[in-house]
């Protein structure tokens, strides 16, 4: 097994074995499902408020998983071992991000369908909303890797992490919400794909650089 496959497999196992992956998905579904109850059945209001709410819930769900992503590795000595691997740390970081996306981004994408229906999104728009969630969560994870790596050694670094990461979550949120509300879907999806690819390519490199400093 390659270092990439071994890391990917282990991270998935760890995320699912502790039930840690269920919490953010439950949070996402809970937050989006409660909105119609709180706002009442006014269809026009829900249609306007729904897309932004789906995206804010998705961003916060991913954010909640980031704080311990590298902190746990730093504390228990796993990070030292990753640094000693013959595989580049960038690849290992990428594997961790990929596992995080499969464990949380993908379920969030699927959960986006019931959430969008609860928020009165037209059914024919669901494929676009789910595609946009798949791309948007990938962008969140890529950016999140960097924030998580930078704050790995900060005790209770959650606030700092949010300050670093949330401004960078803005572009996917803007264009994701545009897709969900049906404005210029193709253009918004292309930009989202760009965000996702950029974050997936650059995130692991920046995160690995930050982690090398943390190991000192």
């Amino acid at each position: 097994m390659s270092a990439f496959a071994a890391t990917f497999r282990r991270e998935l196992q760890l995320m699912w074995s502790g039930g840690g992956a269920l919490a953010p998905i439950g949070y996402f579904l809970g937050a989006t499902m409660l909105v119609p109850l709180a706002m009442g059945p006014d269809r026009a209001l829900l249609e306007a408020a729904g897309p932004p709410l789906v995206w804010i819930a998705a961003a916060l769900s991913i954010l909640a998983t980031l704080e311990r992503l590298f902190q746990a590795d730093l504390e228990d000595g796993s990070l030292d071992q990753m640094l000693l691997s013959p595989a580049p740390l960038e690849l290992i970081t990428f594997a961790k991000g990929a596992a995080l996306w499969v464990a949380i981004g993908l379920p969030l994408t699927l959960a986006g369908a019931p959430a969008a229906i609860a928020l009165q999104a037209p059914v024919d728009r669901l494929p676009f909303i789910m595609t946009s969630l798949a791309l948007g969560t990938a962008a969140f994870v890529g950016v999140g890797l960097v924030g998580a790596a930078l704050t790995a050694s900060v005790k209770r670094g959650g606030v700092l992490l949010a300050l670093i990461v949330l401004p960078l979550f803005a572009p996917p949120i803007i264009f994701g919400a545009a897709v969900a509300s049906g404005e210029d879907v193709t253009a918004a999806l292309s930009i989202l794909a760009g965000c996702a690819l950029g974050a997936a390519a650059l995130g692991p490199i920046a995160a690995a650089a930050a982690l090398r400093l943390q190991a000192e």
Binding site: Q13, G77, S78, D80, Q81, P86, A87, I92
Partner: protein, 209 residues
């Protein structure tokens, strides 16, 4: 410069570790300065010193995690720097939720070693707990599992920080055997210890000097 420290790239076959005029500081405090030593194949270098004297920092510098303030660390006769050494630190590098077997498989992938789980488990007497998650292991068993990395993937230089911590007498005996066979096959061991563990060191370094 590589993140793992400067390595000599000209082809040589003789393994060696050379440290020249090494100065390390942590948080603005100089731990030791001008430390020099060399280790040849089969060497067992014991690093001794009080708590906080810089034993761990020296090992972390050798592993390439810490950038020295000045001085040089040279590994000779190492073709592939990434395959040069193992570092067993204070922290065992284990995940509470994963089983011993899952750790062995993971390391085999991470270090491009071979997952000879049964052999590893036999050697370290872990076969009864192979499918037990780490949170249910004792301190000594967890330490043994951490030491299993030494067997999972062969490396020529072992950097061990208090390797015998939490080990019982049988565990210490196994550790000494591992060190002895590693030295016999031409490897180098650098161990930071609080009190001498077993093998007679070929060289003893006292920090601070």
């Amino acid at each position: 410069m590589s993140a793992r420290g400067p390595f000599q790239d000209k082809p040589q076959n003789k393994l060696g570790l050379r440290v020249e005029a090494l100065t390390l500081s942590r948080g603005g405090r100089v731990l030791f300065d001008n430390l020099s030593f060399a280790a040849a194949p089969g060497a067992y270098v014991e690093v001794q010193g009080a708590n906080g004297s810089g034993k761990t920092s020296l090992l972390r510098a050798l592993a390439g995690f810490l950038r020295p303030q000045s001085g040089e660390i040279v590994f000779e006769g190492v073709d592939e720097p990434a395959l040069a050494f193992h570092y067993i630190g204070h922290a065992n590098g284990l995940k509470r939720e994963a089983t011993a077997r899952e750790h062995l498989l993971y390391w085999a992938g991470l270090f491009s070693g071979s997952p000879s789980e049964d052999f590893v488990a036999q050697t370290l007497d872990l076969h009864r707990v192979l499918n037990t998650p780490v949170r249910a292991l004792s301190q000594g068993q967890a330490r043994r599992l951490a030491l299993a990395r030494l067997i999972v993937a062969p490396r020529s230089i072992w950097l061990l920080d208090e390797p015998a911590a939490a080990l019982d007498d049988a565990g210490k005996a196994v550790l000494n055997e591992l060190i002895a066979s590693h030295r016999a096959s031409g490897g180098i061991v650098v161990a930071a210890v609080h009190e001498p563990v077993g093998p007679t060191p070929t060289q003893t370094l006292r920090v601070p000097r």
